[in-house]
Symmetry: D2
Subunit: 346 residues, 4 copies
């Protein structure tokens, strides 16, 4: 299938190029940009990557549906641009998989982590764009969290989740955080991030009921902090469950968790969506962020400890913000759409 990438020249966009190189199903047929329209792709992104040959000579074009030949559109646009541009592609009949936040919380738009809530894809049929439809993927901080919480919610019930984050600078895009501000420092604020994490996780963990999603009924509190790390969001999590919860049992539940992508053996699916580390001081971003059979697609969980209350638990989650938390998650979602017959080609 031919895929187009909207916003292909930014830090988020180039990840699609890297991950789709040699993809068995998808081939990049078009790349759009803003300030670099008219350049060839390799020149447009030379400060970020050496473009692979298969896309090096593509011309960067405007995000205009009439100029694009593709069976699927990935959107790596900034949110404000996405709000304006994605609808044009929907109306023109394209399937769109978007990592932008613009449409994530709309009622009829599925917000998907393929292992967690593939059933939410049925919302697509409520959308009214003819052949076009949109599926979104969550904020990079939400992904690891919701993936880790899903098996715990199913097994123990969840009442309350308190999370503090340690987020890599690559999550802020490019140019992102000025080095003068973050060297030897941590910044306890990321604009609108806490609200996104709280709302998105509840939607993803929510139930499909009748015509829509009923968000998960739990207390969710996030404190989001930027740290001087290149890649990998670490999260310190405290939860309270419906039932007594045992840390050894939790390790087992997490390790054996598996979903549709694993069952369908999707190309970008890691063997284990969740890896449990038993080492006392792990996971650590620099050493663990690429763990697993598909680097950057597994979440690593460690330091699982019982809390003082018998229904409480503490642990750390690490996930790759640029792979599982962005391009990798979107590609896996597209693979799921393809396997489930949502993509027919145009």
């Amino acid at each position: 299938m031919k895929v187009a990438i909207l916003g292909a020249t930014g830090m988020a966009g180039v990840e699609y190029i890297k991950l789709l190189e040699n993809h068995p199903w998808f081939k990049v047929s078009a790349v759009t940009g803003k300030r670099t329209v008219g350049l060839i792709y390799s020149d447009a992104v030379k400060s970020l990557i050496n473009a692979p040959k298969s896309v090096a000579d593509l011309e960067v074009i405007e995000p205009d549906p009439r100029k694009i030949d593709a069976d699927l559109v990935f959107s790596a646009l900034p949110s404000s641009a996405a709000r304006e541009i994605e609808p044009k592609f929907l109306e023109a009949g394209f399937p769109v998989v978007s990592e932008a936040s613009a449409h994530r919380m709309l009622e009829d738009v599925p917000l998907i982590i393929p292992e967690v809530n593939p059933d939410h894809l049925s919302l697509i049929k409520k959308q009214r764009y003819g052949d076009g439809f949109i599926v979104t993927t969550p904020n990079c901080t939400t992904v690891g969290l919701a993936l880790a919480l899903k098996p715990l919610m199913d097994e123990f019930g969840l009442r309350k989740v308190i999370v503090s984050t340690y987020q890599a600078v690559s999550g802020a895009g490019f140019p992102g955080v000025p080095s003068f501000l973050i060297l030897g420092n941590v910044i306890p604020y990321i604009e609108r991030e806490e609200e996104k994490v709280e709302a998105e996780a509840k939607k993803i963990l929510g139930k499909l009921l009748g015509d829509g999603i009923v968000p998960a009924d739990l207390i969710f509190e996030a404190s989001c902090v930027r740290v001087p790390v290149i890649d990998g969001h670490l999260e310190a999590v405290y939860i309270e469950a419906d039932k007594p919860i045992d840390s050894e049992e939790v390790a087992e539940v997490l390790e054996r968790f598996s979903g549709e992508p694993q069952r369908l053996r999707l190309p970008t699916a890691p063997e284990k969506p969740i890896i449990v580390s038993k080492t006392v001081d792990r996971p650590q971003p620099r050493f663990d962020v690429m763990a697993g059979s598909v680097p950057g697609m597994s979440v690593v969980i460690g330091r699982i400890r019982s809390g003082k209350l018998e229904n409480s638990l503490k642990f750390f989650i690490l996930s790759h913000n640029r792979i599982r938390g962005a391009a990798g998650g979107a590609i896996l979602t597209a693979e799921l759409l393809y396997s489930m017959g949502y993509l027919r080609g145009r």
Copy 2:
């Protein structure tokens, strides 16, 4: 008064030297070390500081009470050494103010933050060392937390405290964390730190009842993480109180908090023990750790937000781990002892 510093040649010890230079009441009369016994002090610490003239020529001696002439002993010893050496000084009749963890949790040993629990000093009279007695100061991570929680507990009651930390490398002493491990990384584990924070905070916030301290009755959960920051421990805190809690009221309660050190105008007491920052992305270690009238002695609190439950609240705390969290806190404690008549000279 003449003061001796045990462990004066390590990273913790040199801070006493810096802070006591020009102190109106205390003058350093003796410094002890381990591998540098026999050297003059300026040579023993040359890789850490340029020793001020007043102590440069002191000979580093063994921690032997018979060789020391002092009215007060500060202990900056590592915990294992403290366990063995501090009792010798107590038995020899010295008042000891110790930042080591060795004796903090003993029943008859006060664990003091001068603004928070000066009344706990009355435990001293239960100690059985003749003229000698020991007062301890808390772990560097506990200090900022207990200081911030005290006015909240008094005003709103406290049921539950969930805290995640962002701790500076200087908190690990010297040589401390290898650069290979922490550059571009965060490490979600600090040996025994979480247990210390949880137990110490409950003791400090506890009530003096009859012959001892009844620890505060609340759920306390800590996740301790090392980050590549030089100085300053940041903490992300979530609390649940007994009563509804309003974020604006909290800001006022914190700002007007004041204690014995302020009332007594102790030399190392900051005008405000707690500074509330209204800037959206503060406090930050690199920019705020020295805020206030006595640099490093005030705790800075920011991002005070209401939680989803009406009795819940989130905020960030920053405190200087080497000043308020160690030498500065111990010196302020000694000043309090002096003002209250506990130090008589020898």
Copy 3:
């Protein structure tokens, strides 16, 4: 005297505000900006500093000479803006001290390090702006170098200078270098920096002859590199002199170096423009950049070693890029102008 600061709202500009607070001779009377025109100063710079009260309420205005009442103008403008705006102030009769590169290399414009070439100020009389005149200060990397080379050139002659730099991120202004590029990395390129260093140092060390400056006749080779340091440019220098050169003698020559600012006891003049460190692993940016009687105004030199050739020498230089290398150097230059009678008020 009343002073105006052009470009007062950027990272370079705010340094003037900090250093001029409580200045005995100069008082800030006007601040100009670009995107923040109309705001009060404290709001315009709140992400960079807490503006001191004396300037907090000044309105940020356009850089229009007709709107400014000042006896002296400091320019902290970016070079392109300086090229356009500074001439307007000259034509309006203002004395301008500029740290911008725009006019540094013009024949009739003095490029001044007050200790090195105060005699070059006589170029002012060749300028044709009526009462107005312009004096420039060098690139932040040139300053430490030229200051260190001056006494060596006078004593031993200089034939060749090979320098490699380790430059702090604050030298790139704000937002400057993206953290994603510099964390755990070094970048061996700074646009036009090597050319500037080579040309400027030769002009500063040059001789005033008749109507102009004859640049110093020496080979000058620079390699400029950005490193993840906040403040302080370190430079590794190799020189070849006209005469045999002895490292101990060099240390003496450097230490006793002193200039007009010291003789005139200018307010911002450090007691020693050059501090020689004897410690084997110094100078280091984080520990030494603020050394000396006026923090940030002294250059620290260390590791002075003889080379294989008897006329060769190696050493390291550290200087503060934001103080001596920018605002501090410009203020010292203005103090020199004032003492020498160049500033008469308007």
Copy 4:
């Protein structure tokens, strides 16, 4: 062939394990350690790596030749240990390839970079240990430099080399540099490093004449600096040659450079020992240190610029200190020995 690794449990030693996993010729048969004797290998190194299965269960033994069955011994020992232990293995008849500095400068010991001076291996026949012999590899900082200089010396002659380094923390081993010293800092001193670089490079570039090596006749000046980078030593180089030197010609000469390892297609030989980058701001450690067909084995050179003298030149070199500069270089040397018939098995 069976290979033993001395000092297999340190940071240098574990690199051999990583690089020899799946090696076509060499299989690790023994690992020695100091404090971990008696442990199985995977436990002994768990803080550094996850040991691959092939060596995980090897017992860590003392470095005693009588206890070791191997056809070749790699030594990753610290220099002081190497001085004592390596001779025992030589006397017991083992071929030893050592990255330790202890014996590098001995007259009859070859100091080898396989592409540069394979002919120096003939020194082996002068050694008097029966079947045993020793070959050494250079300091991590020397390797990239000597590799880059070799083709330039052959083509243009070399008179003078001035080099300043930007060295990664992993070059200091483990625990190495304390994070408190290097975060946001650079340290302009590495013990004995400058002397090593200067002497070793002259030996490697020297000529085999009669019974020994005549060091290259050139002026060599090094300034060695530690920077907060994980892996990869960058070097700023200035040279003066015998002939006029043109930067474009230099790029060609460097790019087409190739040696015995390439001719013999040794398993660890990169296709190109030298990669020339044309990008204006490269090479950079974080982005380029793994460039080439065998990651970490190629040296990347960039910013080749003509100097002011017609026979002078400036450029930057990047090489991987833990791969080409240590284990990788030693393994390539062993492969060369094997191909040339020096290793017969025992």
